[in-house]
Amino acid sequence: MNDGWNIVVCVKQVPDADDVTIDPDTGTLNRSDAPAVLNKPDHNAVESALALRDAVGGTVTAVTMGPPPASAVLQAAVAAGADGGVLLTDRAFGGSDTWPTSLALARAAEELDADVVICGEESTDSSTGQVPPGIAAHNGWAQLTYTESLDPRPDEGVLVGTRDVEGGYERVATALPVVVAMVFGANDPRPAGLHRKIFAETEFEPVQWTAADLGIEDRVGLVNSPTKVGGMDTASPVERERTRVDSVEALYDHLAEVL
């Protein structure tokens, strides 16, 4: 038998996606001062982590990399039921693309002696989906992306994941440690319990690690990021007729020109 798994769940703070719309005339972002929230797909990651702990025992530790206010997403994870939270925060991390971001998270997972690292499918702001495979690659661990459900086999030290493979599914057995990215919407996240919520808000203090604590101060930040954002443009609005028609006949006549 075993005394449970060390489960690490990676959570990211992002601008609230529901508040982001495009102005059709200018193509500009209407962000209405979008508040920062826990990346929506990460709710599914947290739920999977808690369900996995229910199944095999052990602990769930939430980890985020970001400026100090990002500890709010750790609080949300703890309120949902995570046992603790670690904030990776340091000026040295500034400007990190997915290469150093996944390095920092990979080092933290190693520090926490993780058996399983669970991430969301992708973030709602930069949405690369590259961080989970990046964590796995930095540590030379197995990976399961686009995972719909998990079936732990603690006696064999194996995690079986069902992956969405576009047009079907596959079941893959992996050795531990393994990095999992859950499909967005894969499960129904449990609501935070009242006691946990009060604890998260009043007593919980995240552990804080700097780049130096992780031994990676020379390998993170803008200088160690291969990609550079060369320019940001609002998406050019596609010109549309925006003609209202008031009958199916009129609609058909317009379509007849196209077809």
């Binding site: 982001v20 719309t21 495009i22 059709p24 972002l29 997915t98 290469w99 996944s102 992708e122 709602t124 702001d125 930069s126 949405s127 690369t128 989906g129 590259q130 961080v131 495979p133 990046g134 796995a136 690659a137 930095h138 030379g140 661990w141 197995a142 990976q143 992306t145 079986v160 992956r163 969405d164 493979v165 576009e166 047009g167 079907g168 599914y169 596959e170 079941r171 893959v172 057995a173 992996t174 050795a175 919407g185 200088v223 291969p226 990609t227 550079k228 940001m232 443009d233 998406a235 596609v238 925006r242 003609t243 209202r244 009958s247 199916v248 609609l251 317009h254 379509l255 196209v258 077809l259």
Partner: protein
């Protein structure tokens, strides 16, 4: 793991455009040929060679097809360890090839498979990887300019990778044109080089226990798409019948897919497919940015919605306020009637 490149590497040592030919059970994913056609343009611009990378078990025919479709050369890693796909053997093989041969640009399909392994390769190579690009170009110095939507499609970022190589990019299916299919020519095989397989089964970290894949629909080729959203309220018959009458395909928003009304392969948007049909009919769809991102390239967009203020009307050529359960069947009847008259 060692960093193969990074600040201090000589970028001039890296040349050629590589395209990863994704395949499953010997059948190429359509995005592979789309990228090969785009890769040809980029290679012509930089004056380099276009190289197809084919990994699998019994896939020499795909290497030859890649040459017939315009690749100057194909590299073939053929071994049972590569079927079915797994991240770690693919990642390791790719890493070894990148380190040994130093490509400048590497294009990979933004499918679940491509996105699963691209991130894994980019790390040991210390390569720059730009996700889900919708435009690719090269500047005067031959640097790749990779543009991608962010914030759910409301902004475009252009990403460069000045000091690291290779410059990697993933691209979703349907963004570029595949060009014409081609039969392998007689001497296509001469341009195929078998490479050393560097992974052994006993070193792999995972085992595929079961793989069930049905006939996968491909909505990215359709000229007409009838898409439905939450407004379908469980009944997608009106979509299916109109699509049938117009000779098109049914598609859906994430909301309709999550409800289970429409299969996931038909989802359009940020986490679904990118489509560019001549006609896109959006019925019961509000017009969220994440949906618009996948269909903004359509020639003509029609919106059917009960809410006159639905954002989709701002992104449509023709809009009709009404219940899709009435509008679509009426339109279907009209289409069929005219077809009968014409026949």
């Amino acid at each position: 793991m060692s960093a193969a490149s990074g600040p201090g590497i000589d970028v001039a040592d890296y040349r050629d455009v590589w395209v990863f030919v994704e395949q499953h059970e010997g059948e190429a994913a359509p995005v592979s040929w789309e990228l090969l056609a785009k890769g040809r343009e980029l290679a012509d611009e930089t004056g380099e060679s276009l190289v197809a990378l084919v990994v699998g078990d019994g896939v020499a025919h795909l290497a030859e097809e890649a040459v017939a479709r315009g690749a100057d050369r194909a590299l073939l890693a053929d071994d049972p360890v590569f079927e079915p796909y797994r991240a770690d053997p693919y990642g390791e093989q790719f890493r070894a090839l990148v380190e040994a041969r130093k490509p400048s640009i590497v294009l990979i399909g933004g499918t679940h498979t491509g996105r699963d392994f691209a991130g894994r390769v980019a790390v040991p190579a210390h390569a720059g990887l730009t996700a889900d690009c919708t435009e690719l170009a090269v500047d005067e110095e031959g640097l790749l300019l990779a543009s991608r939507p962010t914030f759910g499609g409301s902004a475009m970022a252009t990403i460069k990778c000045p000091a690291h190589r290779p410059q990697m990019a993933t691209v979703r299916a349907g963004v570029f044109d595949a060009g014409e299919p081609a039969e392998p020519t007689e001497n296509a095989a001469d341009a195929v080089e078998s490479v050393e397989v560097v992974v052994a089964e006993e070193d792999t970290l995972s085992t595929v226990l079961e793989r069930v894949v049905g006939g996968v629909v491909d909505i990215t080729d359709a000229d007409v798409i009838v898409a439905g959203g939450a407004g379908c309220e469980g009944d997608v018959t009106p979509l299916v019948e109109l699509a049938e009458a117009l000779g098109g395909e049914v598609a859906a928003t994430r909301a309709a897919v999550e409800e289970g009304w429409v299969e996931p392969a038909r989802q359009v948007g940020q986490t679904g497919k990118t489509v560019r049909p001549q006609l896109y009919i959006a019925a019961g769809i509000s017009g969220a940015v994440q949906h618009l991102e996948g269909m903004n390239g359509s020639d003509v967009v029609v919106a059917v919605n009960t809410d006159p203020n639905a954002p989709i009307f701002e992104h449509a050529d023709y809009g009709i306020v009404g219940d899709l359960h009435e509008v679509l069947p009426a339109l279907t009847a009209m289409v069929r009637e005219k077809q009968e008259v014409a026949a």
